[in-house]
């Protein structure tokens, strides 16, 4: 029951993400860069949910940064928060200079597989949120119900789709674009590429321990309900990327 109440409260909080400058200013007034730096990795951390307002230019990066700096005694206290703003500036610069990178692989996959070995469509069970992996299905439900996902949940879903289900990142990117309130082709697609390893040195993967570390009681992290995630990184690497040489050292 507690978990259900928690889920409802989280959904309500996000459901209150309304469009408009007034709602944006209210969200901006509530940010706490110091708490953000300390807890942002956790699903129940002090994340700001400003991204839909930034995506649509309702707030500018400049004014959000200025507000953050004004709320701390030393600029370094807001550095982690401002660095996250900088990610958006970075993605937008790539979008302008290299628009071809938004839908094409920037680099080859570093997974031991060719792009042609990945499916081009999302599996139906993922679209339906019925993969049978409990935490993954909960994240998919959150995506559909709220139009918002914590960054870790986005990375977990992206990694699951690309590496566990071996689906091209482009299919997942479209899925997120259609459902996220802050959907931005540059931030979204290049982040998918980062997870896939077509825009990073290695594929991003996670395991159940990691999910349990960063999520609260609302997320089902029981081993019996998440078997395919309940493995060591070494074992996952062997299973997901069998063509790669094992890492040494």
């Amino acid at each position: 029951m507690t978990a259900l109440v928690g889920e409802a409260a989280a959904a309500d909080e996000t459901a209150s993400l309304k469009g408009g400058r007034m709602a944006a200013e209210k969200a901006l007034a509530a940010i706490d860069p110091i708490a953000y730096a300390a807890s942002r990795n956790h699903l129940d951390g002090a994340v700001t949910r400003l991204s839909p307002y930034l995506r649509h230019g309702i707030l500018s990066l400049d004014e959000v940064r200025n507000h953050a700096l004004a709320s701390v005694a030393d600029p370094r206290q807001a550095e982690k928060f401002i660095q996250e703003l900088a990610w958006r500036d970075y993605w937008q610069r790539i979008y302008l200079v290299h628009p071809d990178r938004i839908w094409n692989d920037v680099e080859s996959y570093k997974t031991g597989f060719e792009a042609s070995e990945y499916d081009s469509e999302l599996p139906a069970d993922a679209v339906d949120g019925r993969t049978g992996v409990a935490c993954i299905d909960q994240f998919i439900a959150m995506l559909y119900e709220t139009g918002y996902l914590h960054n870790h949940a986005r990375m977990y879903l992206a990694a699951y789709v690309v590496h566990w289900r071996r689906v091209r990142w482009q299919a997942g990117a479209v899925w997120f674009l259609e459902h996220l309130l802050d959907a931005d082709p540059a931030s979204n697609n290049l982040s998918w590429q980062w997870v896939a390893s077509t825009f990073s040195k290695k594929p991003y993967i996670f395991n159940l321990d990691n999910v349990a570390k960063y999520t609260g009681h609302d997320i089902n992290t029981r081993m019996a309900d998440n078997r395919v995630l309940a493995l060591s990184y070494e074992r996952l690497g062997e299973l997901l990327f069998p063509n790669l040489e094992p890492a040494h050292g």
Binding site: L17, G19, R21, G57, E63, N66, Y90, E178, A183, P185
Partner: protein, 145 residues
């Protein structure tokens, strides 16, 4: 010089520099472009979010292909300059090019948003931290200067 502002879904606020670049009292227009939304995978929830934002902005809203409608709207407003918030979106950039071709006598100008950082030269975008190492100092200063 009579101006007209075309606001798109990447710049939905009245404090955007595009308003300061225009003559005082210049009308702003949003075109609800279903084809561009569909091509950009803009889902129903985002469309509602954009609609809520537009309701608060109290600007003219028209429905159709922005590249087709804007030359007509510029003429209807008697404008000879169209101001557009700068966007990296190739779909919007393409529509601006089409509009320019359709009305070569009208100036179409893109107005950049307030800068986040000030950099002496274009940064290396190969990886985020190469960019961040150059941008950090500016990013941690008010107004990025």
């Amino acid at each position: 010089m009579a101006d007209l502002i075309w606001l798109h879904e990447g710049a939905l606020r009245r404090t955007h520099p595009v308003f300061a670049a225009a003559a005082p009292g210049t009308a702003a227009i949003f075109v609800w472009d279903r084809a561009r939304f569909a091509a950009g995978h803009v889902g129903a929830r985002r469309q509602l979010f954009i609609a809520e934002t537009l309701a608060e902005l109290e600007i003219e809203i028209h429905e159709g292909d922005a590249a087709v409608l804007l030359p007509q709207l510029v003429a209807a407003h008697g404008a000879n300059r169209l101001l557009v918030p700068a966007s990296p979106d190739p779909a919007i950039i393409g529509q601006i090019a089409t509009i320019r071709q359709a009305m070569p006598q009208v100036a179409v100008e893109q107005v950049e948003d307030t800068a986040f950082v000030t950099l002496p030269r274009e940064p290396d975008l190969a990886r985020f931290f190469r960019y961040w190492n150059k941008a950090r100092k500016s990013a941690l200063r008010p107004h990025g200067v």
